[in-house]
Every structure is written in C-alpha cells, then in structure tokens.
Symmetry: C2
Subunit: 426 residues, 2 copies
C-alpha cells in the first residue's frame, strides 16, 4: 500500500516530503549555477536531470525534460507522463529497491541537501490570475469597506470572482521585497500624496499551476478542469492596502499587488494530494449549469498557517491557522469560469485561490482582517505590536495535509520586507 | 532631408508605409511557413532575415536577430540597435543606392507582396496592461453608469488608472473571434443567466510595446520612460459589456475582456513617429512629482478611425474618427505609474491606451458611447441598424499621421465576429 511505502532515504516523521509526496522544483548547486529539475525527499533534493542523464525517467527518446531551467516542458508532456515519472521515482527511491540504493557513485550525483542548494521559481508563469473565493474573506472585507448587512456583492455567490494579476512579478519564496511606494489618499486630505505604503499586508493563498492548455475560444468544462491542473503551491499575494483603496475603482487592484507575489518553491502534485480530498461547502444558490459539480470530493484538507518573524525577535509567531477546505469555489469551478467566455490558459499559469480565511479571527488570512483594518493591533510574543507589516518582518506561510499517519506538505513560502526606496523628489 | 527620402520601390502617395516608416512585423510565405521579421514598404514586406543572411543588418557577430518568430530578441538588443538597423535599411532601400536596387537576384529573395504572405503576432507578449486614459471616454462611461455630475472618479485625475489584462488572448489582426458566452444579469431578473454576449463592443485604442525592461523594485522615471518604448500598434480591446457590468465589481473586468484583444501586425517605431509629436492636454490638477513632465511634445498626432463591415454590405462604414492626441495621460506617465510601486515590465509587454474618445459623438471610440448604451442606434449605409456588434460584422480600425506631405501609418487591425458556441447544457 502507498501509505506503507518507505524510501531508503531517512525521512523524519514530521517532514513535509515523504516518498508519497515528491513535489517538483527547480534548483542549482550555487546561486548562479545550472538550473535543473528536482523533487524533494526529506531533507534532500533528488536531481532528476542526473537521473535522466543516466537513462532513467525517459519519456521520449532524445528529449531532455529535466535538464531544464523550468518545469514547463515536463508539465507540457502531459498527465500520463506525470504519473509515469512519479511511479518510476517512487519505485527507484523505495527502500526495497537496490538499484539506486546500492549505487553509491550514482547516489552522489543525484542527492543534494536542500540546505545547500538554491531553489528557484519552479515554472515560467505566462499568466497569473487571482480569485476571491473564500466567503469568509469576502464577507470580512465587505463588512469593513461596504455594508455589514450586505457584505457580499450580488455576483459573489454566482461566480468565482477573479481578476488578472501581473505574472512578471511572481517570485520564489525567499526573495526580499522592497516596500512599495505610490499614491495614498488620507481621509482628511483633499488630494492624494506620494508615500511609502503604510498598510502593507500579506494574503494567505494557495495557487494551482496549469498543466494543460486550451485553445482560445474553447472553454474547459468543470468536469475536465481537474485534468488541466498539474499541482498546487503556497502563495502570498502581498497587498498594499492604502494604495489599493485609492486606486481600485473602477478597474480593480493594480500597483497595490503588482510589486511582488511569492510562491513556494515546491509544486505538490494533485496525485500526492489525492488521499486528502474532502468536500467543499454546500453552495447556495446552486450555481448555473456550467459551474455545477459534485462537491463531495472537490476540495483538499490542507492545514495552513502564517507566521511573522520580526527582525529582532528570537522566534516567529503563528498569527493565523486556517484550512484550504473552507474555499467556497473549487479550483475546477474557477478554471471553468476562467475559460467560459473563451479565454485560453497556458501551461505554467498560476491561479491564486484568493485569501483563505476561516470562520474565526485566528483563522483570518490577512492582517487587514486579523487587526480589523488596524483597529485591533496584534501583540507578538516579544511584546511588539503589529497592525500591518513593518520593515524587517519576514512573513512565513506553511501548509500540509495529515491523515492516518501520512503527512504531505508544501514546505513554506517566505519573504522579508525591506525599507522603501528614497526618491529624489521626496 | 528625411522627408525627401525616396525608395527605389514605388510607394503610393496614400500608402501608410513609405521609406520613412518601416514598421516591424513577423511574416511567413505560407500560413504554416517559417516565421521571420520584416518591415513594410509600400505594398511589400522586406525580409530582414534574408538581408541578415546576406550579411546586412549585422548587430552582433554570429547572432541572428531577424530569423526569429517574434521581434523580442531584436527589441531586446536595445535602442541603439533599433536606430542602427533603421538607418541601414533606409540607406539600403533608398532610390539612389544601387547595392540592393540593382541586384535582382537578391531583390527576389528579399521582397514579398504583403497580399501574398501571412502576418503573425509581431511580438511574444509576456504581459498586457490596459489603461483608461481618455478623459472623454471615462467621462462618458461615468455619465452612463454613475453620476453625470460626478462622472470622473476622484482618482482618475490623479493617476493613469490601469488594470492587468490577459496576455494569452492577445491576437493578431485578421483572427476571427467567437462571440463570448457567460453570465449576464438582466435588470428585472433576480439571478443571472447563462447567455451569449448580447452587448459585444470594440474599444478603439493604441498600444505601446515595451522595448527595455526594468528590474523588480526599480521604478522607471517619467523622464526615462520614453527610452523603454519600442513602438506603437493599433489595438482593439474587444469588450462584452453585459458580462462586464455583472462581473466587474469589486476587482475589475475579467471574462468580459479576456476572450480576445487584437493588435495590428505592424509596430511603428517612435523614431518613425517623431515628426508628429504634439502636446497632450493641460493637466489640472498638476500631477504629483513622479508623474510630472513637460506636456508640449509628449503625445502624437495620430488620426484614428473605426469602420464596421457588415457581412452582407457592399462596403464598410466609418463610424468613428478621433485622434490619439486627445489622451490625457501620456505613455511616459502610464509607464512611470505602472512601475512606481516596483512592478517590472518586460520586453514585448503591451500597454493599451484605453479607449480613445474625442469630444464629439462621431469621435467616440466604442459602440457603448456611440449608441449611448443602445439608446441611440446607429444606421449603416446599407440600412441595417446597430446598437452593438452582430455576428458576421468585421470591425476595422485604422490610423495614420500626416504632415507636410509625409504620411506614416499603422495599417489596420481588424477582426470578424463568429457566432457563439452552442453548449450542451443550454
């Protein structure tokens, strides 16, 4: 049984990366070294390019899928290839298979300590879309900025609201972020002013990576949508709330989001997540036909958390614990809606879930909600208070599934905020 | 003098493509043939890959810039290369230079009739942003959907409002477009319904193509912005008004725009447009420092028009005539704003102007405005009426500059609307 599968590589009980996971990433031995594909296994990266060079994982003769700087070519090789490679890797890495286990020369070429390598953006992201699919989050935002009695706009319950994000500023975990500057409008001022962002926030999200394109003008049905998804990542949709509030009407968020969007370096495949399928919330009203699907197993039970590590603090504080299963709209519904008017998606596209808030304040997925727009400051364990993110803070998001002794995790997505630029005209 | 420059190739008086223009595009001899770079000259395409193969236009030894399926590599070679190639081409194609003129063997390899080749998307578009920078357009929309007395939202006069578009569905002129379907909400109905779009519209825009990237976190100043622009195209930002009205709050347009966005096949360089520089409108209030620039020569006098060719009509009807110079925010201001919070732009990015409306109804850049949301139907010369676009209609946009006998044009961007898909569940 898969659950009993063990690798000859020692994997700690609480590791996110047992042999049942094998998430895909891109690494290099030095920061500027050659990028290639690996999977995570315990504390190690397994170099798939090295395995490929030795005749393993062959998908098409003469083609290199893993000696590549991004996963796009492998992903584009199709779902049956993903399964084939996963099965071969699990076999090759299993405790009872001597082939790699007892070949120390090959093992030296194939295994690298994660702590010693540089992880890169795992895919080239041609397009990035962000949804807004947590009912709790949309309700909280609606309560704060609109009418608590009519917090959800009329369209929210009818379609997975989404908007186009900026793909060029999608970055990998660990990349520092300069505090953005721009126009903010204070309530008592007649005109906006130029300022560094004063309300810098995170948004706890997951993202899914498109595994199969559709042609322009040919929608993906909700039934077929799952076949178009390669896997999932953790995602921090950094947000400058003060820039956002001033700029977002009528065409949506722009500079408040486009300065950085961080993803985790490991893409966890849907196959690895299969044991953690669960139901999504009952949808009322029942969606229109093109969005209708059986909700009994269209979500995943993924525990998510956010930590803030203040620059001078001895340890990080967990400030949010929530779960992916709260999402009202499923990934398949998001994708069916995204393409229903004819839009084409491309291999590597990132689809953000939207902020994932749970029902209670300790499960809210943004500081905006946790501190209720700065009216309820948060006290960290070192005594410092936070309403929004300060310079030097590192925000760390983690996620994992756990069931019957099996743990499949995402690792983390983290990012540190650097001070804003100084401008000549200031 | 440049104005007197003539090519040995006959160019008609009213051609958009004299030797002073030389816009860049991508062509192939057959639809599926090898794509390479060309410039337009009169009725001809000049094959730059063929010239390069014969030792002309050399930028860096051993590198091919024109035997490429997109312009990105050439654009990325930098502004001095653009000038160098333009100067060499003008010299090589001039009437008094015998080198190519009298080499009939080479001429046969280099010149192709535009009518006999297939034109493709000239650039790979990594990112697409659409602005909303015509005061007349924003005012018209505000009058229709908000308050005629406060038609412009407060932020509009302070910053060039923009939003992220969908780059994957940017297509080249001549590509047919399937009428989009999706959710529309009729005023008297409680819930939305699934329907083919009933209010399909065009938006007359121009776009500029990014010629030089910036690093994430490093804004482009308004002074430097012009150096980051390679050239301009005509742009039709197709819009499904009924989908848009229902979906756009609070995060902006999505499916109403992502089904198709058409650009002209020729990119006209800023160098070619130089003689047509003009002032943009006076800005009141004066923008914040990061957006401030001398407005005396930060726009271009480009005459623009829209025609509708009904399927059965003998001829197309001109339904709009306007000018780029009406734009309130300049391209440099748009780019400075786009990057001020740190967003990075990439070579090949498309930046849409937003609908370009003039002051009078015959200069409005969308059917929404021309027919005032279907309350004032338009009568075509064959007697048919239009409120929005019908199946079989072809929308054709044209643009050119003209001054002292010199005409520099964009050619056209056209697209025909095909009937909506039929869905099983309908």
């Amino acid at each position: 049984m898969t659950r009993q599968l063990k690798s000859f590589i020692e994997v700690a009980q609480d590791s996110d990366f047992p042999i049942q996971n094998l998430p895909y990433g891109v690494f290099s031995e030095t920061a500027e070294g050659t990028r290639r594909i690996g999977v995570a296994l315990g504390e190690w990266v397994v170099d798939l390019a090295a395995l490929e060079a030795h005749g393993y994982l062959a998908l098409q003769s003469g083609e290199q899928y893993f000696n590549q700087p991004t996963l796009n070519k492998f992903i584009d090789s199709g779902k049956s290839s993903w399964s084939k490679v996963r099965a071969e890797l699990q076999k090759l890495l299993s405790a009872d298979n001597a082939e790699l286990r007892d070949n120390s020369a090959l093992r030296e070429q194939v295994f690298f300590k994660q702590a010693n390598v540089t992880l890169h953006l795992p895919v080239h992201v041609p397009g990035y879309t962000d949804f807004y699919s947590s009912k709790e989050h949309a309700t909280n935002v609606g309560c704060m900025f609109r009418d608590p009695k009519n917090a959800l706009l009329a369209n929210w319950s009818e379609l997975p609201v989404g908007y186009n994000g900026r793909a060029s500023s999608v970055i990998v975990s660990g990349t520092d972020i300069v505090r953005p500057s721009g126009q903010i409008k204070l309530p008592n001022e007649e005109r906006p002013q130029f300022s560094a962002c004063r309300k810098l926030d995170f948004e706890l999200e997951t993202g899914f990576i498109i595994g199969k394109q559709n042609q322009l003008g040919q929608p993906i049905t909700v039934e077929n949508a799952w076949d178009h998804i390669f896997g999932m990542v953790l995602f921090n949709d950094w947000s400058a709330r003060d820039l956002q509030q001033w700029e977002y009407v009528p065409l949506g968020p722009f500079n408040s989001k486009t300065f950085a969007s961080s993803i985790s370096p490991w893409i966890v495949t849907l196959e690895a997540l299969e044991p953690f399928k669960t139901s999504s919330p009952v949808q009322e009203p029942q969606p229109l036909a093109y969005l209708r699907e059986d909700h009994s197993a269209n979500s995943y039970d993924i525990q998510l958390s956010v930590e803030i590590q203040a620059e001078q603090a001895a340890q990080a504080d967990v400030i949010c614990e929530t779960n992916f299963k709260y999402m009202y709209w499923s990934m398949a519904q998001q994708l069916a809606h995204h393409t229903i008017a004819g839009c084409n998606v491309q291999v590597g596209d990132l689809m953000g879930s939207g902020t994932i808030s749970g029902p209670t304040p300790d499960s809210y997925g943004s500081l905006l909600e946790i501190t209720w727009n700065a009216t309820k400051p948060l006290t960290l364990s070192n005594g410092e208070q936070r309403t929004f993110i300060q310079d030097g803070d590192t925000v760390i998001m983690k996620g994992h599934c756990e069931k019957d002794g099996l743990r499949i995790g995402f690792g983390e997505v983290s990012g540190k905020i650097l001070p804003a630029l100084q401008f000549d005209f200031q």
